[in-house]
């Protein structure tokens, strides 16, 4: 008999105990192994399997790493993890292959007379600490900055925040999650007053419809997509792909609907119009649990330095909201969204059907948007109007792109305005942080300083004289790198880069610190479904490589803050996590104790009375809800979520005569973000060796462009030459070109625009105007 899925799983479970050969053979029972392979495995190979989360995307799959003689030699999916149930994607399976890369940063490098000199790590840390101290003495606290990452572990983010905000006393701390998650955060805060999704991945097992908004999950969140596909084949659940580009996700879905960039705002409003117009509103839910508000309009795009914006929310009533929606009838919206009125009504009818469970998924399409906060609000409007929220199989679900964008950037709060609990603007939150950190309360400044884009503008202006980047590659990933690369090269700013591999960012560094990779240190990550996951160090790192958290601590000690960082080198992860947990005590955000995380493949917060809370705000599942409330959006003082009146506004830059194409950027399944890790994995590099520019075949025909021909993509900011790709991995709509950004040889972000959402300050990488010509 053929193996069914369940027996295959039990196979995999048994496998952990068996030797490598048996392990591999049982994984492919249908495939006979050639004798060559068996010869390749040493006799009596006995792999030691250790659990942890995957190093790459925000899905947070559980992995098991097989080590032998102190080397990581195999990776498989953790069958005990409810996230991925034993499955991974091609990046996950091969992740450990990058750490043996020949150009690994194994020692600290200090720039002396224009050349990098190998330096003992302790000496390099002395230089960093002295430089930081001298800069503060000469130019004040706000002349030093730190730029971290959604890939920083929870302890790393915590120590960075404590060092900058608690010890030094500056809010010059931001992270690359500003480039991917900030709009999701402000969306959550404005609508619910509490960050992060209310549902969890188990929604997939209950939903009838999956509607993905500008989100190519088949490539970007492949393991979650495979769970959706499983429900599609087994239960007949339906996938609807709403996007600006035809992708693998579109071909796998039941229905693919394409729209013109930026018009998602209008389509979402049109869906709300239809829901109200057809009487599909869940009246009792809206009356009991929702308020209506509007904010400022015509809010700008932040393309100029020192741009400031504060929204002024104003309460409105249902009638006013209904009146506002009259501009968004499907017929009117169809004209500029290029989505037919029929398709808009079809989408609305799915959300409006009280007997259908719907989950909406989105990631960068909605977040990297000059109206990202609004778009997130509008998504919640749809789910709030229909009451399809916080129930198994029903809910909006904002996905993340980095392994700890939630766990570190959002929960620990490595943003300029954030503290581990709350924000710097709030006195109560500052007092709590000061108490736990044991620092004078006055030391934590009450005013946020630079968000990511503005931070690098400040470097360019010369306001920031010292910057330390960690686990991040801004000179590939920032928008408009054509401005920020020369900025970082300026003598006025001292640049420290902590990384595992050399990158275009480390190329401009004054000091390069060799960081430990993921499994070469212990740590904790938090994924998209509020799941905190712990792992223990599995292998030794080469040379002088050091965990990032420990490098921060060493510098703090050298700067005279030793008493605030009393952690031990062997045990600092545990000590820091236990200190951090105090911030979130209580039913609304309690974190699981370390003993639990060590044993289990992650736990979802709020972790109350030994139990993960899978659906927040729903009294049935969430102990933090008021009794008898049914639903309690306790992030807001009155327990009511907000339905926001948010209009359609055009993009910061639209195609015109001179620059006639939209430029959309994104990713591919083989590479993760800037490719500094995945491009060093031979399997992945061979499968996807370089970036490309995708054309619609009609556009290519008009321009006389053949597949593979070199094309120069130019905007008002810069240009980039890439080979053309016509109907290969993806098919953009007419008038749009698409470029993946992983390739440091072809820096497409020299071309992109640094316009951002005025509320979240998250840049829009998906829309700017370009022209194309044969190179």
């Amino acid at each position: 008999m053929y193996n069914s899925l369940s027996t295959r799983r039990s196979f995999i479970k048994k496998m952990a105990k068996l030797s490598a050969i048996t392990a591999a053979a049982s994984m492919f029972p249908g495939i006979l192994f050639a004798s060559e392979q068996e010869e390749g495995i040493p006799n009596g190979a006995n792999l030691d399997w250790k659990k942890g989360p995957c190093r790459f995307c925000g899905v947070g799959c559980g992995i098991l790493v097989g080590t032998e003689n102190g080397k990581a030699v195999a990776v498989k999916g953790d069958p005990n993890s409810s996230v991925n149930k034993g499955l991974l994607c091609v990046k996950g399976y091969h992740q450990t292959m990058c750490i043996q890369s020949k150009d690994r940063l194994t020692h600290a490098l200090v720039k002396k007379n224009g050349k990098y000199v190998k330096t003992p790590i302790s000496e390099a840390l002395d230089i960093v600490a002295n430089k930081m101290k001298d800069t503060i003495a000469a130019h004040g606290k706000d002349s030093v900055a730190m730029y971290t990452s959604g890939q920083s572990t929870i302890p790393e983010g915590y120590v960075a925040s404590k060092l900058m905000k608690g010890a030094i006393g500056t809010n010059n701390l931001d992270c690359n999650a500003r480039l991917c998650m900030a709009s999701a955060v402000t969306g959550f805060l404005t609508t619910f007053g509490a960050d992060e999704p209310m549902g969890c991945y188990e929604d997939i097992d209950h939903a009838d419809y999956f509607i993905t908004w500008g989100n190519n999950m088949a490539e970007m969140h492949p393991v979650l997509f495979s769970r959706m596909l499983e429900q599609k084949t087994r239960r007949g659940a339906k996938i609807i792909d709403f996007a600006t580009r035809t992708t693998r996700s579109s071909t796998a879905s039941n229905r693919s609907i394409l729209f013109e960039p930026q018009t998602d705002l209008a389509v979402a409003n049109a869906i709300c119009y239809e829901i109200i117009n057809n009487g599909w509103v869940n009246k009792s839910f809206v009356e009991k649990h929702c308020n209506f508000s509007k904010g400022l309009t015509n809010i700008g795009y932040g393309v100029e330095d020192k741009f400031k914006f504060t929204d002024k929310p104003e309460k409105i009533d249902f009638a006013a909201y209904k009146e506002f929606l009259k501009d968004y009838t499907p017929e009117k919206v169809a004209k500029y969204s290029k989505v037919s009125a029929k398709d808009i009504k079809y989408l609305a009818s799915i959300y409006g059907d009280p007997n259908k469970k719907v989950v909406s998924y989105w990631c960068m399409g909605m977040n990297q948007h000059t109206r990202g906060t609004w778009m997130n609000n509008l998504m919640y409007n749809i789910h709030l109007l229909t009451g399809k929220i916080s129930q198994p199989g029903n809910g909006p679900f904002s996905l993340t792109g980095q392994p700890s964008a939630c766990g570190t950037a959002r929960e620990v709060g490595t943003f300029t305005h954030k503290l581990p609990k709350g924000v710097v603007m709030n006195e109560k939150h500052r007092r709590l942080a000061a108490k736990i950190w044991k620092v004078p309360y006055e030391r934590i400044p009450a005013k946020p300083t630079y968000h990511a884009t503005e931070m690098f503008r400040a470097v360019d202006r010369g306001d920031i004289k010292f910057i330390w980047t960690q686990a991040v590659n801004p000179l590939v990933s920032l928008p408009k790198t054509s401005r920020y690369r020369p900025a970082m090269e300026k003598e006025s700013c001292f640049v420290v880069v902590s990384d595992v591999f050399p990158t275009p960012t480390s190329d401009v560094a004054d000091v390069i610190l060799p960081a430990s990779w993921h499994i070469e240190k212990s740590g904790l990550y938090g994924n998209s479904e509020r799941r905190t996951q712990h792992w223990d160090k599995m292998v030794e790192g080469p040379g002088d490589t050091t965990p990032d958290a420990w490098m921060f601590i060493e510098v703090a000690k050298r700067m005279g803050y030793g008493d605030l960082f009393p952690y031990s080198e062997e045990n600092h992860v545990e000590e820091i996590y236990n200190e951090y947990r105090q911030f979130h005590e209580g039913a609304k955000h309690g974190m699981a104790p370390l003993e639990v995380l060590k044993k289990e493949s992650g736990a979802i917060w709020p972790y109350v009375n030994g139990k993960s809370t899978q659906w927040r705000f729903n009294e049935k599942y969430d102990p933090a809800c008021k009794e008898g409330s049914d639903f309690d959006f306790y992030g807001k003082p009155d327990g009511k979520a907000v339905i926001w009146q948010r209009p359609y506004e055009p993009a910061a830059e639209s195609p015109d005569k001179e620059y006639p194409f939209w430029l959309n950027t994104g990713r591919v399944i083989e590479h993760w973000h800037t490719g500094s890790m995945t491009r060093r994995i031979p399997v992945l590099h061979k499968a996807m060796p370089n970036a490309y520019v995708e054309f619609h075949p009609d556009d290519a025909k008009v321009l006389g462009i053949r597949n593979g021909e070199n094309i120069k993509v130019t905007s008002r900011r810069g240009s980039c030459v890439l080979p053309a790709s016509i109907n290969e991995r993806g098919l953009p709509t007419k008038g749009q070109v698409f470029v993946p950004f992983f390739d440091e040889n072809m820096l497409i972000n020299d071309v992109t625009l640094d316009a951002f959402c005025p509320i979240s300050k998250e840049p829009d990488y998906k829309k700017c105007a370009v022209k194309v010509e044969k190179a």
């Binding site: 495979s226 399944i669 009609d698």
Partner: protein, 233 residues
């Protein structure tokens, strides 16, 4: 006279009103029914080249639950024997009735979805590209076992099974070209799949989530000029 003028002007007024109202409702009707036809058709013209990944996925569950007919399995050897070299179109190993036929429906009767064929005591292999109906453009019969002149042509070594994974236990990579073979399940699942390459988990569908090709042409591209921060001294 006055009366008649009155009646005529009434009808004229009514007629004008009719024209105005009809026109108005016609215009709004047009507005309501507005569908940008030209824009819509553009999306339908092009079938994404990646679509094949998910083709035949409607049979995936059946494949997963299908018992294996051990006595009628193909092997990888017989699969390669039927090809001039690895990657070449297979020849037709059975007699063909109608020499004038392109192939098309005649071939597809058995090769679109497969099934057991009594006469050959075997399962019909499934084609990964049923949309191409001039089958015999590429697939020809073997009507003779002799050669016109002997040849020194050496058969290229076909990829082997079990050696295509990068690490122990990782999913094997795709060691063959994907062009014309985008649809994985047609050869790797079902009763006609050679036993060595039959997938254990056809229900997974999104094959290229884990299995990536190894034979992409790596273009010669100038490496990023790392002027200084290299680790080498």
């Amino acid at each position: 006279m006055k009366k008649r003028l009155g009646i005529i002007s009434l009808f004229v007024l009514l007629f004008i009103a009719f024209i105005i109202i009809w026109n108005f409702s016609y215009q709004t009707g047009k507005e309501e029914a507005y569908i940008p036809i030209i824009e819509e058709s553009q999306y339908k013209t092009y079938i994404p080249s990646e679509r094949g990944v998910f083709e035949r996925s409607e049979f995936a569950l059946e494949y997963a639950n299908m018992p294996v007919d051990k006595n009628h399995q193909r092997t990888l050897d017989s699969y390669y024997d039927n090809r001039a070299y690895h990657g070449a179109p297979p020849s037709i190993p059975h007699a063909i009735k109608d020499e004038k036929n392109l192939g098309g429906n005649t071939c597809l009767q058995c090769h679109q979805n497969g099934g057991f064929v009594e006469k050959f005591n075997a399962y019909a292999p499934v084609t990964p590209h049923p949309e191409m109906i001039n089958c015999r453009q590429c697939h020809v019969a073997q009507n003779s076992n002799t050669l016109f002149k002997p040849s020194n042509l050496a058969k290229v070594h076909a990829p082997k099974v079990g050696v295509n994974n990068a690490l122990i236990g990782t999913p094997p990579m795709i060691p063959h070209q994907i062009q014309m073979r985008e649809n994985c399940l047609s050869c790797h699942a079902g009763p006609a799949a050679p036993e060595e390459i039959r997938v254990t988990h056809p229900e997974r569908i999104n094959c290229r989530q884990c299995h990536v090709p190894t034979d992409r042409v790596v273009r010669e591209i100038k490496p990023f000029t790392r002027t200084n921060s290299s680790n080498d001294e």
